[in-house]
Each structure stands twice: as C-alpha cells, then as structure tokens.
Symmetry: C2
C-alpha cells in the first residue's frame, strides 16, 4: 500500500551480519525514533543500554544461551523496563512510594517494547537487520548484575542490529482471522489448523525436508521450556507484582 | 535521515478525528503490518479486537474514564495479550499446563505492544493519526467481560485510529542521554533537570501560561494514581504471575 507498510510486512529476523559498523549518526537516528514512541502519561519508563564492550558482549551472548550473534553484531542494545528514573523524579516532589506493582510492570514493559519496535523499524529503514534477544531472560539476574541495573529496572530483551549477511525465508504468520476479532473474542480453530499446515510446509522447505512439525506441535514443545525464575527475579528487582 | 525515520520522529498522539472512515483495505494493511512484528518463538501471543459496534464503543469510552475519542474515532482496536490460543494449541499435543506465570505475562504483553506499534506506524504512514488508550486498564474486568475475553487473555491497551482533525504540539522527550547508557546503567540527574525546564516551557506554551509544572512534578502527581487492582484482575484472567 506504500513503502513503509511494505517495509513492515517484509520484516524477518537477521542473525548474521557483515562487519560493517553502524555509524553514530545511524545509532542516534534509531534511538531518537525510539524515543518518539507513545508513552503513558509521558513516563518514558524505559532505558536502553548500548553494549559496546567486546568482553561484555561475549558474556551476554553466553548468558543468552550461547547466541553468537549477540557478540558478533555491530550494535547490541539491551532494552530495559525502567521505573527507577520515574521513582527518583517522583520522590523529589512527593512522598508517595513508587512500587513495582503489576500495573507499573505492565507500563514499563510496554514502554520498552514500543520504543524498541520503533528502533527496529528505523534500523530496517536504513537497510539494517535486527533480531530481538528474549534469551537475556534466561539469566536475568546475571545480566542485571553485569549491566549495573538498579532497583525497578529489568532487561526485557536485547536487540542485535547490523548489515544483514543472510536472506532468511519470510516466516508465515497466523492467518489474520486467527488473531483478529470483531466486537467479541472468538477463537478460530479452523484458522489455526490451516496455519499448522502452512508451518509444516515452511519447516520442510527451511530444513530440506528433515523437519515435520506444525505450529501447534511447536507450541507444545515450547511449553516444556518455561522460564519459571522470572517472578523471583522481578521481585529481586523491586517488582512485587502486587 | 530518511522519510520513515522522519515519520517516526514526528509522532504525536491524536485525540480528535474527522468523520472520514478508515477503509477495509487500510485496516487490513495496518493489521498485516502488525502481524509482521517480531514474535518470541513464533508464539504470536496477542489478539486484536476491532470494536465496530457503536454501543460497545460508548461503553468502552466510559470505562476508559470518559474519553470521548474512544467512541468518536473511526477505528477502535483493543490490543490483548493472548496466551489462550497458545495454550489451546499446546494442549492438543502435550499435557504440560500453560500458566500465566511472570515470563508468559511478559511475553504476551510484549507481543501485543510490538504488533500494536507496527500498526501505529502503518496507520501514520497512511496519513492517519493514532492514540493509545491505557485507560482500558481502569476497569479491566468490565472491559474483558464486554469483549468476552477468555482465560489467559487481557486487554493491554486500546488504540484510536482515524484522520486527524487537530495538530497538537510535538511534546518534547527526555534528552537522549537520560534514557541511553553505554555498557552500564548510569543515572543522569542533570539531563532530567534540564528536561524539567523543557517541560515547564512546553506546558506554559500549551496552556497559554496557566500551568507551571515540570516533568518530575508530573511524575509525583502520577504516583498518586496507581491502578492497584491490576494484580487481582490479572489473577482473575489466569495470570498468576508466579
């Protein structure tokens, strides 16, 4: 429908990058785009940490489950939910304690995500590729320690950015009617079953025929790998989720 | 730096719309862009509810704190974190129970936000304006009841979309150095204090001189309005946050 919508719809995660650096000008344009995202009551309850130190990148790559592209990508960012700055500001003008309750957890998590997605779109508009790294939540306490995160700050995900050195297949999404509802939530089992077959075909093509799976089977496998430590970790960071 | 980054950096929330409808083609392009956003292990753990029924829009507008633009906007979407579809799929191929634990809450909240932000960018690329409606979390149980949300689905925020009928000032953001850190989290009090003055000037201009405030003061005021009900609500929806 236009060039921007084409760009959004063509998104795929990039996990292999050339050595070409991301310039300071590019990085700042990306981060200014991130800052322009919507924010709840202007809280801007996120922070972004640019990890430029090679040793630190290696440690984070290992903590994320040995994802080499974390250390190899030209620009690695860690997007954090951040109520620390908000709490510090509020404390200077009042004595209402700022708690990491469920609502504040949601606000800060959403703000990090909105800013990050603007950054992703901005990066892709410059011809760069990106990959979100949820794996930072494998070892969130260790990541927080390495980055010096204070109370009320937690790493939501990382993001690799760089010039793509691969052209992965576009992974098909659920049919629109599986995620779209009009006026009332209505599960659409037929759409999910149709998608199961789409993913079966996609995985066969991607693996040269060696993988026979469906979306539903992948979700059952995913359910075996919960990150059960997150509540305790969030509590440690001051998110009492209450 | 390019047209897309300009678009992102020019974002402002729109709360007044002309009567011009958003066409089905526009809506579908916006939603397809949303679907293309990154997703954790392909979970696609969100749903979007298009509220087209006028009576329902009025009820939601009231629940959101009498925000008239919710009922007046041509296209109103409710973005939901959705582990229900994932749980149903996983249950067909395994007996691992899917719980709304803290990690799953984060995944589903992030996925709703990433998809929504792509939708916002796509809409703005078509000349439309958008406004996020966090106010749906004022009365989340009532909103969930009205929309028929099952267990493991919760409304993260709404979104008004339509042709802008206002040109609000661009609200300045924190200086980049207040949200940006290199290698280690480092609070930047001077940047926040400088922003306090920026917001003082902005608010004076916006209110014709009648409001004298700063960002920090606004944050202290915001702290007096916590949505303390969210933990109980999330628990009702199956998010035990454990």
């Amino acid at each position: 429908m236009n060039e921007i919508i084409d760009l959004l719809q063509r998104h795929r995660s990039i996990r292999k990058f050339t050595n070409e650096p991301v310039s300071t000008e590019q990085r700042e344009a990306i981060l200014k785009a991130a800052q322009a995202a919507s924010t709840s009551s202007n809280m801007q309850a996120y922070s972004v940490i640019h990890v430029s130190d090679a040793g630190l990148k290696n440690q984070l790559a290992e903590l994320a489950g040995n994802q080499a592209y974390v250390s190899e990508c030209p620009l690695f960012l860690v997007w954090c939910a951040d109520l620390h700055r908000y709490a510090e500001a509020a404390h200077r003008h009042g004595d209402t304690p700022i708690t990491g309750n469920a609502e504040n957890l949601i606000i800060a998590t959403v703000e990090a995500a909105l800013a990050a997605q603007n950054a992703a779109v901005a990066a892709e508009s410059l011809g760069l590729g990106v990959c979100y790294i949820g794996g930072l939540r494998n070892k969130p306490a260790e990541v927080s320690e390495l980055l010096g995160l204070p109370q009320l700050v937690y790493p939501v995900f990382g993001m690799c950015i760089g010039m793509p050195d691969q052209e992965p297949l576009l992974r098909p999404r659920l049919p629109l009617e599986a995620v779209y509802h009009e006026n009332r939530y209505t599960p659409n089992q037929a759409a999910v079953e149709s998608y199961d077959e789409t993913i079966r075909d996609y995985m066969k093509e991607r693996t040269g025929g060696s993988t026979d799976t469906t979306w539903s089977k992948e979700m059952a496998a995913k359910a075996l790998r919960p990150r059960k430590h997150m509540k305790a970790f969030l509590s440690r960071q001051g998110y009492e989720v209450e």
